[in-house]
């Protein structure tokens, strides 16, 4: 349960910080780098707690985080 609360906190913090930047894409890109990195770390932590941390899971979270990051930073 604590993992999901942490994830929710991460998402709310990210969105709040984005709102504080007046939607400037410069800052949003930096925030997104931090957010996706923390999401990847969260994924590892969550699955370690669940005792299901497998190389496939690590790869899945890595690709999902990279996709999320690229979806934002590729907007010029």
């Amino acid at each position: 349960m604590i993992d999901y609360i942490a994830l929710l906190f991460l998402v709310v913090t990210y969105l709040s910080l984005v709102l504080l930047t007046s939607f400037s894409h410069q800052y949003i890109k930096f925030l997104t780098i931090g957010f996706t990195l923390l999401y990847f770390i969260w994924g590892l932590w969550h699955h370690k707690r669940e005792k299901s941390l497998h190389p496939k899971i690590i790869l899945e979270y890595l690709i999902i985080a990279m996709l999320g990051l690229w979806l934002i930073i590729s907007i010029p």
Partner: protein
């Protein structure tokens, strides 16, 4: 066709109880396709600016009107358009393109006040707001109003005159529309009213360049559409996955898709609200 769609989106025994799109190799393919699509957009915006360039609809007159609206809403007097400040703004924008910089001060140390003095505007107080990469006048003024320092300039009670230049060009290798807004107060300034011949011709001169590019689709809009399409595709797949895993009570090593769904919802919100322009 139906079975392919089913395999792509619905978890069942043929796709190891996970939609094919969410498999590692499919996600990698999606990432590759996304990178390629965005690279094509970047290349097209450089090689074929008429097809996929940058499109703007920024009008100096509209910037002035919107600026004055903000002042009136905040109990400040309207600013009068100054041809000299228009000239100063145009000279500043031209200098930024000529010397390839995005700053209030040029690499050689030239400050905005130099252009104001060169335009023969004897200022008591002066100010400058800059913006680039915006798509319309309202976005520019909103971004300035959202920034405390720019807002201070817009609402400064000491200013009486305003001049605006909107110029297209390339800064740091990137095509952009630059907006320079100059403020000033001077006892000697001969102000002109909006619609005077000189101002109109200047305004149209800057607009002509923009109008040429209005036929293009903005590369920003195109990239945003592609990103949003990918996010929606992933969210739909994740939702279907969550629904079927929940209904069939499946137990998987990767668990349910709740976390990824939350992650992509956050990314979707940001992709929707992200704006193009930068103010300085």
């Amino acid at each position: 066709m139906l079975s392919t769609t089913y395999r792509l989106f619905v978890p069942h025994h043929k796709n190891n109880h996970k939609p094919k799109i969410l498999h590692t190799n499919s996600l990698l393919t999606l990432l590759g396709v996304l990178i390629m699509a965005q690279s094509v957009i970047s290349m097209l915006s450089v090689l074929q600016p008429k097809i996929l360039g940058f499109a703007t609809n920024i009008d100096p007159e509209k910037i002035i009107t919107l600026t004055n609206n903000q002042r009136l809403q905040n109990d400040q007097k309207s600013l009068t358009t100054s041809n000299k400040l228009n000239q100063a703004a145009l000279a500043k924008a031209s200098d930024m393109f000529a010397n390839d910089y995005w700053s209030h001060t040029s690499p050689g140390g030239t400050e905005p006040w130099y252009f104001i003095s060169q335009a023969d505007y004897q200022y008591k107080h002066a100010g400058e707001n800059l913006a680039r990469d915006f798509e319309n006048s309202a976005e520019v003024v909103s971004a300035w109003m959202a920034s405390p320092t720019h807002k201070k300039n817009i609402l400064d009670s000491r200013f009486e005159n305003i001049g605006v230049a909107v110029v297209n060009g390339t800064i740091n290798g990137k095509e952009t529309t630059l907006v320079v807004q100059m403020f000033g107060s001077s006892s000697s300034e001969q102000t002109s009213i909006l619609g005077s011949a000189e101002f109109v011709s200047k305004a149209y001169a800057t607009q002509d360049i923009s109008n040429n590019l209005n036929t293009a689709i903005s590369s920003f809009t195109m990239s945003k559409i592609i990103s949003l399409s990918f996010i929606i595709l992933l969210l739909v797949t994740l939702s279907l996955d969550w629904f079927f895993v929940f209904r069939k009570k499946l137990v998987r090593i990767s668990g349910k898709s709740w976390a990824h769904t939350t992650f992509f919802i956050a990314i979707l919100v940001v992709a929707i609200i992200i704006k193009h322009g930068i103010v300085l």
